[in-house]
């Protein structure tokens, strides 16, 4: 393993067209008492360097499981990953533990909603950030400390020398989230997976953290996979939006295009449910019903029981098809539907 400071250029990528991450047909299944249940099916998407992708959908749509699988963080005795997860020529689904350890935390970072459960309460935040550095490169304690201080400063923590020695419980929620980001950023990852990183924060603090993530991504050309239920957060942070429903990607489009002219009825339904798009005090549209549970997936289109546009033909399995203009949609009727977006 080479030292981080002199990190060699990543290995040449075979045939993945300059992509950072190329996920092909990822299906994640869990062994349960009721048999093997599929949490995601045939998830296919790619991430280019510096690209910021928002993954949206209701709870239970497979967003979090998708993020965890990219770093193989699901318990391997019950979770099975099928498909290819090509990260710069390494298949994350099948590579050895050694190779994975070299990528996890170093070339792909991850941050979560609740920093309190991701930070160790018995170590100071400085030690925890420096730990990632020392785990991934030969480095003296003093050097790791300097780098950790610089990382704390770069995420906007005032008086980092003092905060270095603080324990997580001594910090506010926003401060802890900054510490977690500093820890994830310390090895200059090429990709950061962020799972609802601002959901537990106040809105004025959320605005600061979003600004920070955008800025870090711009400065270091770091790609971002941003998992969230908040379409406003995606609009302000991301360049592309993946809509997931019941374990499948149902739409993939540039954020602005998806917001203005969604092609999938589920994306449109999520947008129309936003209170700010309805006149004050008017009844709010909602999506009837709920996401099907893993054991009771409908055949054909998985959204059809909740879809206001369902018609004969929707009971056939739906492919994620090319919709032109770099967009993909999993709805055979998309050409016939003029779905309302936020501007309609």
């Amino acid at each position: 393993m080479s030292a981080v400071a002199t990190q060699a250029t990543p290995p040449a990528v075979p045939a993945s067209r300059g992509l950072l991450l190329d996920v092909q047909g990822m299906s994640i299944s869990f062994a349960t008492a009721a048999g093997r249940l599929e949490a995601t099916r045939d998830v296919t998407f790619s991430v280019s360097p510096g690209e910021r992708i928002g993954v949206v959908g209701e709870s239970g749509c497979g967003k979090t499981v998708t993020g965890l699988s990219l770093l193989r963080l699901l318990p391997e005795d019950v979770a099975h990953i099928a498909g290819r997860l090509d990260f710069m020529g390494v298949d994350l689904a099948t590579c050895g533990e050694d190779e994975l350890r070299d990528i996890r935390g170093k070339r792909i970072g991850m941050i979560f909603q609740e920093p309190m459960s991701a930070l160790d309460p018995v170590f100071t935040v400085g030690e925890q950030i420096a730990e990632g550095l020392r785990a991934h490169g030969r480095m003296s304690r003093a050097e790791a400390r300097d780098r950790a201080l610089a990382a704390l400063r770069s995420v906007g923590i005032a008086a980092p020398e003092r905060r270095y020695h603080a324990y997580p419980h001594q910090l506010s929620g926003g401060m802890r989230q900054r510490v977690m980001i500093a820890g994830a950023m310390i090895c200059n990852p090429q990709l950061l997976i962020a799972d609802e990183p601002t959901t537990a924060l106040d809105v004025t603090v959320q605005a600061q953290i979003l600004e920070l993530l955008r800025d870090l991504s711009d400065r270091s050309h770091m790609a971002l996979i941003f998992i969230t239920h908040d379409l406003g957060v995606v609009a302000e942070t991301c360049t592309r939006m993946l809509t997931m429903y019941a374990g499948e990607i149902v739409e993939d489009a540039a954020v602005d295009a998806a917001l203005e002219h969604p092609l999938h009825p589920y994306t449109s339904g999520l947008l129309r449910a936003l209170p700010r798009l309805s006149p004050r005090r008017a009844a709010l549209p909602s999506i009837p019903g709920r996401v099907p549970t893993l054991g009771q997936m409908p055949t054909g289109c998985r959204f059809r029981q909740r879809c206001p546009y369902a018609a004969a033909g929707c009971e056939a399995p739906q492919a994620l098809q090319d919709a032109g203009g770099g967009r993909r949609v999993r709805c055979w009727r998309f050409r016939d539907l003029a779905l309302p977006g936020v501007a309609a």
Binding site: E58, S59, S172, G173, G174, M175, D202, V203, T204, V205, Q206, A207, Q208, L210, E211, H229, D230, L231, G232, V233, V234, A235, E236, T237, V255, D256, L259, E260, G269, L270, L271, A273, L274, P275, R276, L277, S278, R280, R281, A283, L284, P285, S286, I287, R290, V342, A343
Partner: protein, 336 residues
């Protein structure tokens, strides 16, 4: 708002302090808050953590005791009632919390959870209570078979409806809604908000709607109050507060809300506040917001700004409120 009407709820200079872990220190959770709510109104109370909004809500339904100040229902100070009158009267003042899982006993069937308040209040015979509970469940749009189920068999939205049904059995007049849709998926928030609106129309309910979510509060409220570190900083008609905010904190809060709009439709300038809300154990002197306020001056550290009516029914506590209000009027409506 006509001044002649007696408010359903009057909160007068409410102060609530809790002992802090730090020896001898107190947390000033609520630090002198006054407002009125009128019958049939939806009064939105918005604020971030530490604003005191949840404590205010609990005080209104008498789950926490005020340190000072008064809470009046229909002009009557609740503290002056005999304990017997108070017990009977408080049924009309209900509260619904964020997490229906914590509000429902996982080992009780839905029907018995909904009947429980009637049993505690010894209202009617068992068969009447059962009927009242079933009626309440039907009223919130739940099918009858739900009654024999357990909470874990229901979705989040259904559980929140059950909790609402349970408060309805007490024939409430005022309901404090504390982050009632925050735990629900966006797709069904609308359903629950629509239900609240429907119940209000049919039963003439009054709501104190507490939330951190600006888009929700501005959608459903008649008037909106903004709280910061234990005090109100602004109060006015919903349109005025969201479209022509006076207080720098309200403006920053509105500006921080991420907008689900394509880039060409979003407001350009963002007011990014620095730092976080200070500790309510050691609040700043003078104006509580001054440590994060982009317009803070020396005066703001010396004196707390007076709470005053700046425009008709539009109140604010800022030394420069008149100046900011006239700027807003000149510049036209701010982008929502």
């Amino acid at each position: 708002m006509s001044e002649a009407r007696t408010p359903t709820l009057s909160v007068r200079d409410l102060r609530i302090e809790f002992p802090a872990a730090e020896r001898g220190a107190t947390v000033k959770a609520v630090d002198g808050v006054s407002f009125d709510i009128f019958k049939g109104e939806t009064f939105g109370l918005i604020g971030e953590s530490g604003s005191g909004k949840t404590t205010i809500g609990r005080a209104v339904v008498h789950l926490v005791e005020p340190t000072a100040g008064a809470i009046l229902h229909d002009g009557v100070d609740a503290a002056t009632l005999s304990s017997r009158d108070f017990r009977a009267a408080r049924r009309a003042w209900q509260i619904v919390f964020q997490d229906p899982n914590a509000a429902l006993n996982p080992r009780s069937k839905i029907l018995s959870s909904v009947m429980e308040p009637l049993e505690i209040a010894r209202v009617g015979a068992p068969e009447e209570r059962r009927r009242a509970a079933l009626q309440a469940l039907a009223r919130v749009g739940l099918p009858e078979e739900i009654a024999t189920r357990y909470p874990h068999q229901l979705s989040g939205g259904q559980k929140q409806r059950v909790v609402i049904a349970r408060t309805l059995t007490m024939k409430p007049e005022l309901i404090v809604c504390d982050e009632v849709v925050a735990a629900l998926d966006m797709s069904i928030r609308g359903d629950v908000l629509n239900l609240f609106a429907e119940l209000q129309r049919e039963l003439g309910l009054t709501y104190l709607f507490i939330t951190h979510d600006l888009s929700v509060v501005s959608h459903i409220s008649d008037r909106i109050a903004v709280a910061y570190l234990g005090r109100l900083v602004e109060l006015g008609p919903a349109e005025a507060v969201t479209d022509a905010a006076i207080h720098p904190y309200t403006r920053a809060l509105l500006s921080a809300e991420p907008e689900p709009l394509p880039s060409h439709m979003r407001a350009g300038e963002r007011i990014l506040l620095e730092g976080e809300i200070p500790s309510p154990i050691h609040p700043p002197s003078g104006c509580h917001f001054r440590t994060r306020c982009p317009h803070a001056a020396d005066l703001c550290a010396q004196r707390a700004p007076e709470w005053r009516e700046i425009a008709r029914d539009h109140w604010a506590a800022c030394h420069f409120a008149e100046q900011f209000a006239s700027e807003t009027t000149k510049a036209g409506a701010m982008p929502a």
